[in-house]
Symmetry: C2
């Protein structure tokens, strides 16, 4: 029987974290240990490392994924292990997994097989408490908002226009829509509200984008919780809550240091939701890794149209960092699905036909790969295609992908990182090194000075390949309102399905002749962007009939079992 | 100007935590550091220390307090500092402060002046994340409960009899009563619910009373979340959630090591609510300190009638530990209030007359002191009265208390621990040493084999001094039900106002001729007791018009300011 990821994780003898840190130029005084084998890197270390020239900045993205994901994290981890085996100092920067899905369908995760982040149990359960700090800061502001209404509402906040929900790091559908403040008059002012999962908190994105404690504090102050009856935004600063939120988040701003299955440094920090936010690890983790290594490899959520687009247009704009190369992960499985001949349903077994040798169906799905390569090229960033190999793949199927990638002018390598660790990613590492040394020509999709509507249109047409936008009247009105209030210079994020290049999750491959609907636009003034909602966006997952929680327990020696 | 507690805390040069731990017989391998100057003590260390004979077990309790509190924590901290100056190895075990009140009225706190637990900012903000772990475990169970209803309710849980609320570590009155599961059919089953503050979670008490990981896991399995329509209890074990909860709480079971203002070891662990639970630090922290020192000093919440009663009848029963002495803290201020001539309202200045020299009014309030001494004596535990000196006190007023304590046959000392640290608690330390070496005669108020109603009656009459119980029909029915379900052998907790020996918070001194109303009884099967509700018990605080959060911020160097 194939050993589980948890079993493989347990077999690894971890390197002393001080040795791992030393490889990044960090000394013992730069670390605050948080339990065994996990530490926070103190922020002053970053200021010191900045005096060293930065390494190469590599982002791992993907073709349009299936609901199962295509292994970006394992590829990113395998890549740094491969680079390390080639004698390069390499660091991976990843998002922290969310607790909710760990007990829901997904189970715990960061990488797979011989390309994981360790210690796995710590990674998946609490880690250093950063998510809990986000929950606490977010909900403190929510309590202050409702207290403001209760205490006479001196700022004149319109109770019907409170936009600040509450958050909890749990999959709990019953909290999506609630009525608050019931009971006696001293139990608050009744109104509608609801909870999102903590990863969907604007505070989480804000933490991931903050470039310093001072910047964190300023962004918190700019958080808009709602509007007055005469349409003026009410902020966390107006409510006097931003300072206390910053105090709660102070330690959470420091990136967490762990290690990969082969002992290379892994920075794990923040976990902004992929579908309504940037979906990438923190700016500070990237800066720390870049100045502490020859290569910093990070991951952007979902396919290149969503994750890489936001990574480039939002995160790189904030950080001022220029990416040197992008890895586009492709799998035989997903390309077959893009042929339109298969369908994958999470929680159900794969269709057996999907596992049969069928290079023609892989070929039929290649349009999506070419298109996503084109998305990255549109930003002027060199591309390496990584074929994430699965045990059931057939060489003929890999060959089809390799050929297509070469024809599209991209570098390409088959990655066996899951099965063989860094040794299985040596070719990929070499290709990434070559790509990262090509002269770059990085450019954004739009200028910040463009109108908000034009920015949305540029992403939809030039990145997604839509024919145009269909914007609701309410969204148009709100875009004008945000511009009138002085938020017109922000970048944009589009909340769109990740299962298709289009806005329709059923459209595989490269959909043509479609327009992007924009039902609603929202302001994330603290995080620093305006986001458009296109389709149904769930921000609080539910549990399945048999949640992963049922399998998790303590073993005889107090060890955690069943995490996946 | 008098320096604030935070300023005094900052001036202290902390000892290396390894040195602090060494004084308890703990080596570096026994500690898991969590950031600077805070560590968790690994549970295997306790198994090793148990081979050493235990030291003396001292509990700090008080007369019936005013709403401002009488300084039990500062006295406990000062006492270990005093014992330490007298050459004894002494450890203090305290509850962790709750985050909610830190941003509400109360501000941050553990001790005061020169008798605090440090580092103060870490203590008050997150610490090692134990409270967050309790929140996560509690709410995971809540999500599983609502998911069970949503997924067809195979166990037949009666939605109207779900007893498991949700928790959050924030003062948020709007969450006291909510309606959940609104929205579309896929958003869950609508029903009434609500949130308590995390300190009021049964998981918090359970964590404080657990004697091992195995015991923790078993208690979690016994948690009753509600009843079926045919009156059978539904537990966390039935729902398959107890294992995952144990995984979330595994690290939280290890006590946290900090230090006092004078570098003596301080174990800070768990924070069960005083009014509906035991209100005392953990069993494991007490065991660890007892076997690691000559003296383990811990605190029991509120006055002796509430905190010490539960400490003796519930916590000591679980731990098997026998207390050697009890300190009853008294203040001039509170005794004057017990004269019935003054009234203290939190958030308002003290009445000026209260600060004038008036030994006669102190004398008039002494009945409460004698009665609370009697409460402790009823358990066969030697008593030391500690007069917690305030700057405005007059020697004549102290003399009245000292004389009365001696006449009651108790040892007594004036403690200047707040103003002078351990040096101000030398006399108290000496008195405690003497008392702890008296031959003890520890006994419980009731046998576990007594009927539940008899146990409640014994506490009400023999501890509180009530004439009897007035039990509602619903409560009587539920007591019988609990006994029929096999919970009759549990100890009891009575949720009663802490501001009076009676059930009426306005009755000062020693109320006579009153009966204890029991409106409702509830089962805490995981924590392991049945509790009776007598009067209004708030389990989710609210924020005041100007919460302490408004003063908290980051300073120029990123330091936390305004915490109090």
């Amino acid at each position: 029987m194939t050993p589980s990821d948890l079993e493989l994780a347990r077999r690894v003898a971890l390197r002393p974290l001080a040795d791992v840190a030393a490889g990044m130029g960090l000394g013992p005084d730069d670390l605050d240990p948080y339990g065994r084998d996990v530490a926070k890197v103190r922020l002053p270390a970053l200021a010191r490392l900045r005096e060293r020239p930065p390494g190469k900045y590599v982002v791992v993205t993907a073709i349009t994924p299936t609901p199962l994901g295509e292994g970006k994290t394992a590829t990113a981890v395998g890549l740094v292990q491969g680079l390390s085996r080639r004698g390069r100092r390499a660091v991976v920067a990843l998002r922290q997994p969310s607790l909710g899905p760990t007990f829901g369908i997904k189970g715990g995760a960061a990488g797979a097989g011989h390309s994981q982040v360790l210690p796995m149990e710590r990674l998946n359960l609490h880690l250093t408490g950063d998510f809990h700090a986000v929950t606490a800061a977010h909900n403190l502001l929510a309590a202050v908002v409702d207290n403001h209404l209760y205490q006479g509402n001196p700022l004149g906040l319109d109770p019907a226009r409170v936009a600040w929900r509450r958050v909890m790091d749990v999959n709990d559908r019953a909290l999506r829509n609630v009525v608050l403040g019931l009971g006696d008059p001293q139990d608050g002012v009744p109104r509608q509200g609801g909870f999102d999962i903590t990863a969907a908190s604007e505070v989480m994105v804000l933490l991931s984008l903050a470039t310093s404690l001072r910047d964190l504090r300023a962004r918190l102050g700019r958080l808009v919780v709602g509007y007055t009856r005469d349409d003026q935004p009410v902020t966390a600063e107006h409510l006097g809550a931003a300072g206390a939120m910053a105090a709660l988040l102070r330690d959470a701003l420091a990136p967490n240091l762990l290690q990969t299955s082969e002992g290379t440094p892994a920075l794990v920090h923040t976990g902004p939701f992929g579908n309504i936010a940037t979906g990438s690890s923190s700016v500070l983790a990237c800066q720390l890794g870049l100045h502490g290594a020859d290569y910093l490899v990070t991951e952007a959520g979902f396919g290149a149209d969503l994750g890489a687009e936001r990574f480039f247009n939002v995160k790189c704009r904030v950080s001022g960092l220029t990416p040197d190369a992008a890895v586009v992960v492709a799998t035989v499985r997903a390309l077959k699905v893009h042929s339109g001949h298969y369908r994958i349903t999470p929680g159900r077994p794969l269709p057996p036909a999907l596992l049969e040798e069928n290079p023609a169906d892989v070929e039929a799905g290649l349009g999506n790969l070419s298109r996503q390569i084109g998305v990255v090229r549109g930003f002027g960033v060199p591309v390496v295609v990584a074929v994430n190999a699965f045990p059931g793949d057939h060489p003929s199927e890999h060959e089809v992908i390799v050929r297509a990638a070469r024809e599209a002018g991209a570098r390409v390598a088959v990655s066996h990182a899951v099965a063989r660790g860094g040794e299985g990613a040596l070719e990929l590492a070499q290709a990434v090194e070559e790509a990262a040394h090509e002269p770059g020509d990085f450019r954004f999709t739009y200028d910040l000075s463009d109108p908000l509507l034009a920015k949305l249109g540029a992403v939809a047409t030039r990145v997604y390949g839509a024919d145009g936008l269909d914007v609701s009247k309410a969204a148009l009105r709100d875009l004008r309102r945000f511009e009138a209030l002085g938020y017109g210079g922000l970048p944009v994020v589009i909340a769109k399905t990740h299962l298709s290049l289009s806005a329709d999750p059923r459209q595989r491959g490269v959909p043509h002749g479609w327009r992007l609907p924009v039902r609603e636009v929202r302001l994330a003034a603290g995080a620093g962007y305006v986001y458009a909602i296109s389709g149904e966006m769930r921000t609080m997952p539910g549990l399945p009939a048999h949640p992963a929680a049922e399998r998790v327990d303590l073993g005889e020696m107090g060890e955690i079992v069943g995490l996946f």
